[in-house]
């Protein structure tokens, strides 16, 4: 049996991005971040390092935070992708007040990881906010602004918290 070299320029991927079902015809070598930023013009997701270290490009994939620079686009077949463009504004006000954003380049990724924690407060049983946010590098804030904003948002959901 002989192997013929087959070169695939484009594949079809069906996925749900920010609540919309989309059919993408894309180069299989693209990364999810390229699809979001270059093909769909969702530039809210930022690229910081391109190797999964900084977390700037974090998005939610089936509800879990992933670094979109490490996800080959073909893997999003039948997945749900949520980006910063549809994030719940409820988290943003506490983060603004606490000084969570300075230069802003890491911020969308920080917000997406934060959103995952807010939606799944049970994860705090396995680690505190500092531990859970350790995948998002920030070079400006020293993290206090981020951690305090997150804590303020989480406190709102506690019994007796202010909503």
């Amino acid at each position: 049996m002989t192997h013929n070299e087959i070169h695939v320029d484009s594949i079809e991927v069906t996925t749900v991005i920010n609540g919309h079902e989309v059919l993408l015809c894309i180069d299989p070598s693209l990364r999810l971040i390229d699809v979001l930023r270059d093909k769909l013009e969702l530039t809210g997701t930022k690229e910081g390092c391109g190797e999964g270290e900084c977390g700037s490009c974090a998005v939610l994939m089936n509800g879990l935070p992933v670094n979109s620079c490490l996800v080959p686009a073909f893997q999003i077949q039948n997945c749900t992708i949520e980006t910063i463009e549809i994030v719940d504004p409820g988290l943003l006000q506490p983060l603004l007040k606490s000084g969570a954003a300075q230069c802003g380049a890491c911020t969308p990724g920080v917000v997406m990881t934060g959103e995952w924690i807010v939606r799944n407060p049970d994860v705090l049983d396995n680690g505190n906010i500092r531990e859970l946010m350790a995948g998002n590098l920030c070079r400006c804030t020293g993290y206090d602004g981020i951690i305090n904003g997150m804590q303020d948002r989480i406190n709102q959901d506690l019994p007796g918290g202010i909503e």
């Binding site: 930022k46 270290e53 000084g99 230069c103 917000v111 350790a134 400006c140 020293g142 206090d144």
Partner: protein
Amino acid sequence: MDRIEGMNKLTGQEMYLSDTPMADALWVMTVRSPAPRGQITGIKFANSINWNQFIIVDYRDIPGHNEVRLIALDQPVLASDYVRHIHEPVLLIAHRDRNYLRHAVNSITISVDEDEPIFDYRVQPAASQIQYNNDNCFRDISITKGDTNAVWGSAAHIVDGIYETGPQEHVYLETNGVEAYVDNGVVTVRGSMQCPYYVLNALMHSLNCKETDVRVIQTPTGGGFGGKEDVPSMLAIHVALVAINSGQRVRMLYDRDEDIAATTKRHPCQVYHQTALDREGIIIARKIDILMDGGAYVTLSPVVLSRGILHAVGPYRCENVSINGRTMLTNTVPFGAFRGFGAPQTLFACERHIDRIAKSIGMDPIELRCKNYIKQGETTSTGQMIRDNVNLENILDKAIMHSEYYKKHEEYIEHNKNNTWIKKGIGVASIYHGSGFTGSGERELKSKVRVVGLNNGDIEVRTSNTEIGQGLLTVFTQIASERLCVNPSSVKIISPDTHKVPNSGPTVASRSVMVVGHLIERACDALMAKIVQCKSDKIVSTTRAIIHWHTLNPDEVLDGIAVYQTPPGISWDDKKYKGDAYSAYAWATYVAEVEIDMRTFRTQVIDFTAIQEIGKVINETLAKGQIQGGVVQGIGWALYEQCKYNNGAMQNCSLADYTVPTSDDVPSICVSFLEEPYAYGAQGAKGIGELPMDGPAPAIANAIAHALDVEPNTIPLTPERVMDLMNHDS
């Protein structure tokens, strides 16, 4: 007041350069030297690529000077026949497909007939390694005060020590990026930068054109920390050359590995301290030798050395001082501006040395500091009299109290006796930082600010200072709105564009709020003077007075302009290095607590207290953010961030291998401010941004010394280094 652009950043809507559409623009990449030093003997283009599809630019395409204009003119825009460091730019190539372009860059081979490089700035260069003047020294500076030798013999104690600090990478989360196009004959460059007028001057010099023929526009900038002070000038010339050559819009965006490998770092530094003290522990004389690694070209090294020297004695009085500093050439990527600009290096040495002295003479390091703190009316190493009220003991007391220093100091000694695997320690550092440009720098900059009152009553503030994350837009808005008594929403800070804003100087050296902010206040006053006759019993608000002025003066421009004036009594002699080195200083004491795991030798900061006097806090959230962020960068420099070099090239050019602190590596940073308003700073403010870079490293090293009874005099204190200390000292 909340950060003005905060919501845009939180929602990802802020449009950084890489977020703006490429349309039909070309990507540009740099082809770099593979060797640290030598003659370029050939450039080979691989046959596998059709090079006709590419725009290729070399040094012959530079219409003006092949020099990146800054302090010296030694750094080429593109190497012509000789290279002095690895990754030095040689060619620019452009193509529409970025991935194909990446592949093409790797298909060009530059051959270099290598000469003997020099990599260690601490060793005397051999004759064959001399490349600058006759000794490879970019700059030497000396300060002499009193007569050290005359009192040396009378000292009760003489303590010496050698201290070393390593390079540090900025790791701004947005890498360097610029784009260029020719718009009606005007070469326009947009990009991520701190200093648009530096870029403009560099473009004029290399493109051989007038100011009106070039235009520089800052795009939202994802962090700078000094890394976008001088570096963007070179990138801007690069894209401008390709735009002119191709007639197309072109963009260059460094990949992370390229940004780390090819751009500046904090200067490595070695400091040798000799200190003479009397029987009471009063410092009577100090001799300090400072050596810095400048890398292959001068860039900002002379001024970094200058600031390093001017902070070398720390916040202490001393009548007899002799300081010598040199910055040396090595065949390494040039070192450049990084938050603190030489001061963190020399303050590390100073504050580590103070603890060593204390140990050596058997005195409490806190007491030693208190005995020697400089006070109002006393003079610095350059003979500058401290005119403003400064109470370093008060700052120290607050830091000691906040951190429970003495209680923990004793507790940790007990703890360490009873615990084999986890050792704890606590350490202090007292620091100061001169705000604004050094010496005559501000006078020479002649910064200018313009405030315009529009016919709808709104205010425009025009400066060339850049929002790079520090909160400048918000604080400038507060300064202008409070000075004019108008609603902050009616104040607009015009985004830096050299066709729209005057040159108010660079966004560096903790000068924006103190110096430029004060100019905004004065420009506001000038505007108010023009509308004062429009105010009446009926028209009391500034906004209505501005609108009324425009009805009285249709088609005229209402503005206020302010140009920098040296505060009274400030003078500086650059030849003798005497006088008022800075018009104001911010002061601080930091306390660090550490825990060291003796199985891995990893150090973790478990608590940190930062008390500082900064003149006036204009925006507490932003000011706290500056301190907390700076402290965490300082923790990184002290413990985790190490640049590893081989043959002049950094080897760990990724965020996996160059490790900056994560949220889980650092504690909450406890911050508190004291205020002694400075008469010539906006609302009384002094500089703040660099101070928190100065204190953490010595406080942490002193805490490790306390925990392990070792002499941690070299940073970063990586596990390997702590292990060596334990092996050598036990």
